[in-house]
Symmetry: C2
Subunit: 360 residues, 2 copies
Amino acid sequence: MTTRTTGQVHIIGAGLLGTSIGLTLRKLGVDVSLEDLSNAATKLAIDFGAGRLLEEKDEVGLVVVCVPPDSAADKVIEALARFPLATVTDVASVKGKILANVRATAEESFRYVGSHPMAGREKGGTLSGRPDLFVGRPWVIIEDDASESDCVSKVEMLALDLGASPIRMSADDHDRAVALVSHAPQIISSLLASRLSDATDYELSLAGQGLRDTTRIAGSDPALWLQILSANSTQVVPILQKLNLELTDLIHALDNPDSSGSLTNIAKILSAGNLGISRIPGKHGGKSKEYSQVVVMIDDKPGELARLLTEIGAAGINLEDLNLDHASGALIGLVEISVLPELEADLVKLLQANHWKLAG
Amino acid sequence: MTTRTTGQVHIIGAGLLGTSIGLTLRKLGVDVSLEDLSNAATKLAIDFGAGRLLEEKDEVGLVVVCVPPDSAADKVIEALARFPLATVTDVASVKGKILANVRATAEESFRYVGSHPMAGREKGGTLSGRPDLFVGRPWVIIEDDASESDCVSKVEMLALDLGASPIRMSADDHDRAVALVSHAPQIISSLLASRLSDATDYELSLAGQGLRDTTRIAGSDPALWLQILSANSTQVVPILQKLNLELTDLIHALDNPDSSGSLTNIAKILSAGNLGISRIPGKHGGKSKEYSQVVVMIDDKPGELARLLTEIGAAGINLEDLNLDHASGALIGLVEISVLPELEADLVKLLQANHWKLAG
């Protein structure tokens, strides 16, 4: 595989994203330099293999600004001046404000192309960096008339080299989309999780997978999210307002279940929810597929899951998904295996023949 | 293992729960009869191995009412009259209303003990029934002075025979707890998912795991949930009202990010969310533990995951959790393996020695 990115890449900010980009580019043999406000982070990222220090004589072709959203515009403007021949991009999660700021302030802002890799982890920082972070992820490249097309291509090539799937969008479209698929869910998950602070341990002992799933992202970094939400408030607010209105209606309906139309209103919301999730694209970027699920009960000890999957693999049956459901209070695990519907019968036959404990 | 349940068990309602209970009890050698309003469902459940038809001469010791919440009280009252020697329980998700109704209406209501197994699947119906449905799950047994203690024990023995962990609670405590850990999350997830109906495919192409997790339970059956939410509205409404107030405040803060206190308010919600999820009990019923995560990149083909887990199992390293993260648009999977922190170094060494692709 030929690497598309040519010349030196300079990374500003050695957190999760900056380090991950550096690690991958280095593996591809690209010359990477990096810097961070924190000398410790810079050194750590270099030790980690994500790049080297910038030198006086360097000729940087591409600068990737990987700092928190609040400082991204300033760093981009600074980089356009510091590296007069380079294309400059950034990876912040909100694009409109930064773009407007750069266009209004920087000379030669045609060398700036905003971008946003849809990748991350709940845990940030240099040590969380990993070269596979972007594999198969969408990477939004901001389309804007003022950007030079060579510069746009350069950022697109970077995304491809990192294994991501570039998608061109305007800054507005991007900010509206992430408000819906990322920022509103973050807020709602945090609000729901914050309700648990009043709960007794006794009440929480009834918690199941539904609560765990709906609140998982509430574990994200508040400082980072404060910046993201503030920067994209104009797009997030209308979504939350609609949700707030629907919630108010729903509370009213639940509070007056006997009044006319109440049950219909509740049923409508539940059905709209069914419809909504049916629209989320599934694995491999396609429409969500209906897989068949087979559930196997295994002992919670080393090697059991491996033995199960070895047998399935040996039979040439591909797993579409796999969920481990650890029973609370029991040293037993339920393994839910998703396969293409046409493979379900074969899988069940195989598992029964090998004496696994199945449903039904 | 000796089966605790003695005598004949009669199941009323052959949906997911009724069928699952019948399947397990039959495997344990218990005599199970069953009935359903639908003759087709009754026959299907019998073919499935969940029990037999009730006969005139039968002496039923325990009746388990497994019908939707709206009809549970009527069926319990009917069963107390039809089976004058039997203990009667039900498995509906809301307990207070049914209990009040049964106590007010039925003679010999001391033979009624409400219960609620915290188990289910998004997909209901006879054919979804499975004998392992209750393994390791909490099963709430309603404590109430009017219930005879022999009858309470009988239901507790049933829960234990089905592999569940019985927890005694009052009906009020139960209803308050499920409002918080199950009913409010259901509503919030549905509201969030319903926002997606306005979205373009283009916007939804940016959807990630966060959106999938927060909206997963929005796929549940609206008809069933309408009954659950109506029956428990008095407990659900106060939680939603608090959440609605916080959401209103948050919208105001986001809409006026520059006014004094706005950022603090947003940060508070995000931090409260962090705190809230830290209180959800983790695997094996204990407090949520901090596990170390190691991420491996594997080809999405049969046998790869098995090979990986075989090697880990052979080294005697136990997985605490495992997540498959399929990259959208790529035939590659990321496997996130959680282990006890003290095992992380061994695991990494093992994987590197065996040439797996790791982070960093």
